[in-house]
Amino acid sequence: MEATQTDFRLAYLLHLADNAVVLGQRNAQWCGHGPAIEEDLAMANISLDLIGQARLLYQLVAQSLGEGVTEDTLAYFRDDTEFRNYTLLELPHHGPLVGYAITDLDYATTLVRNFLYSALMVLRWEALQQSSDPELAAIAAKSLKETRYHLRHARDWMLRLGDGTAESQARMQAALEHLMPYTQEFWSESEVEAAAAASGLGVEMGSLRAAWDALLDQTLAEATLRRPSASGYLTRGKQGLHSEHLGFLLAEMQCLARAHPGAQW
């Protein structure tokens, strides 16, 4: 019983941490390549927040695991199949292409993803402030403030670019069509989430859905964008079944740390 308790707690925290580190890694790719200096700074800021959140969450897990496990062991020495992030967050910053395609970054994809995810996380962190785990509740309170900023940033751009030029609207709509099916994973059942919700550690995701839908609909209306159907393949990144993209992301992220096992930095 005790073991199971720990199991789903750690799995739940890892899911939250992996989400943050993977999106943080992705968003940091814009550093030096953004469409305006202000956006380089904004994206760096969002990345920093996410990596900060990931660190706090990994540290909680590391404490529980003991035996020399650190935040870095968890970020750098687990393989892709051990990661529990939403598939949405590992996708590159462009439309649908195979894992080893190399192509220009598209800021529309970046902004739409940040909107879809931060809209969810504002609601989730809000709820997690009442988590039965006081340490998670504290992280939630801190992350909520940061995520509200991420949401505002993404939402502002949704409005400006949706209702900007014909080109910007087309780009935003295309990004939305591409990414929307991945949001199904937010609402799919997972044993870990169910157990976490039942125990009071986590939150019942279904309870956030109406608010998320409303936020999305209202933003899209203002942005003069159409809401695409979210149907299509149901991804399962949070259960460890990822896309072809995560392997490449982690290969780059982990290469140096793994070349020097045991080294301190």
């Binding site: 030096g32 305006a36 760096a44 920093l48 910007s168 930095w265």
Partner: protein, 312 residues
């Protein structure tokens, strides 16, 4: 002529010139050139370190590096603002960079080849930059001086962080120590060249001194930097790659070997290892962002028109 006299008197009395004050055209031009060049350097300077963000070997170092590169972008932003107080347009300044008319610090035309470069750039490159910049905190042009005060504060923080990262690596594995030494070998001489050519060969220095834009000579600043750095290198346990580097008790300074000015000028003149890729990367980012900037403008116009309609 009277205005010119008052202007020079204010400077000689260590007063500050402010945007609304009269100033000679050449003074204004010199400042715009220097401030925008500095802003460009901050922006281009994001690239060498940005190269390692995705591969930072720990989450803590990744966060520190992102924050640092972000700071550099921020410095670029407020330096562009300072240049704007002199009547320059940011779009023109950026265009001057992208078309190759404006320069940026040549140090960013060298590649970052291992993780220790991130620490060494903090310690040595930022260190040299600070030595160059501290006198600018007393620059005669107010907005520039105030921007430099803030920038120097943040740069000093980066420098300490860089040095600390190297200390940790030097206490680490042989491979880590090797990285640090390799990195120092590649950067040391480039950093000494950052102070500019010897005073004897320096073009703009004299007028800039008189205008209170420059306050200490290249050679003097370089010597100060060397004197401060040698003991730090000893604490670190690395060897600075100059066999002629030694304490001269008569001068009360460290002597050093000759700097390869041909290499320096060759890089300044476009033939460094990364000149093209740095500039092309900035140009491409700018071009790829055109649609977004256009759309933001279009949106703002639409909003304005709606507001006018409602008001009518």
């Amino acid at each position: 002529a009277e205005r010119l006299q008052r202007f020079q008197e204010r400077i000689d009395a260590d007063g500050r010139i402010e945007p609304q004050d009269w100033m000679p055209e050449a003074y204004r031009r010199t400042l715009v050139r220097q401030i925008s060049q500095h802003a460009h350097s901050e922006i281009v300077g994001m690239l060498p370190e940005g190269n390692w963000i995705s591969r930072a070997p720990s989450l803590k170092r990744k966060a520190i590096l992102i924050a640092k590169v972000q700071d550099e972008g921020g410095h670029g932003q407020y330096l562009y603002s300072a240049a704007e107080t002199l009547g320059a347009e940011r779009a023109d300044l950026i265009d001057a960079l992208h078309s190759g008319r404006a320069k940026y610090s040549s140090i960013f035309n060298y590649p970052t080849l291992n993780w220790a470069d991130v620490g060494v750039i903090g310690w040595l490159v930022d260190g040299a930059a600070i030595s160059n910049q501290i006198p600018l905190c007393r620059c005669s042009y107010g907005p520039y001086a105030r921007a430099m005060i803030r920038i120097c504060k943040e740069e000093s923080f980066h420098q300490r962080q860089g040095y600390e990262a190297l200390l940790v690596m030097m206490r680490g594995t042989p491979a880590q120590r090797h990285m640090v030494q390799d990195s120092v070998n590649r950067w040391w001489w480039k950093c000494l060249a950052m102070f500019g050519p010897p005073d004897a060969d320096s073009l703009h220095s004299e007028q800039s001194m008189r205008w209170g834009i420059k306050r200490i000579s290249n050679d003097e600043l370089r010597q100060k930097f060397i004197d401060a750095t040698v003991p730090q290198a000893q604490v670190l346990g690395i060897t600075l790659p100059d066999p002629e580097l030694k304490w001269n008790p008569e001068r009360g300074h460290y002597d050093h070997g000759p700097i390869d000015w041909d290499e320096f000028w060759s890089t300044v003149n476009g033939k460094g290892p990364c000149n093209q890729q740095r500039l092309a990367t900035r140009v491409k980012a700018h071009q790829n962002g055109q649609w977004l900037r256009d759309a933001a403008l279009a949106h703002a116009r639409k909003q304005q028109q709606r507001a006018l309609k409602e008001a009518a």
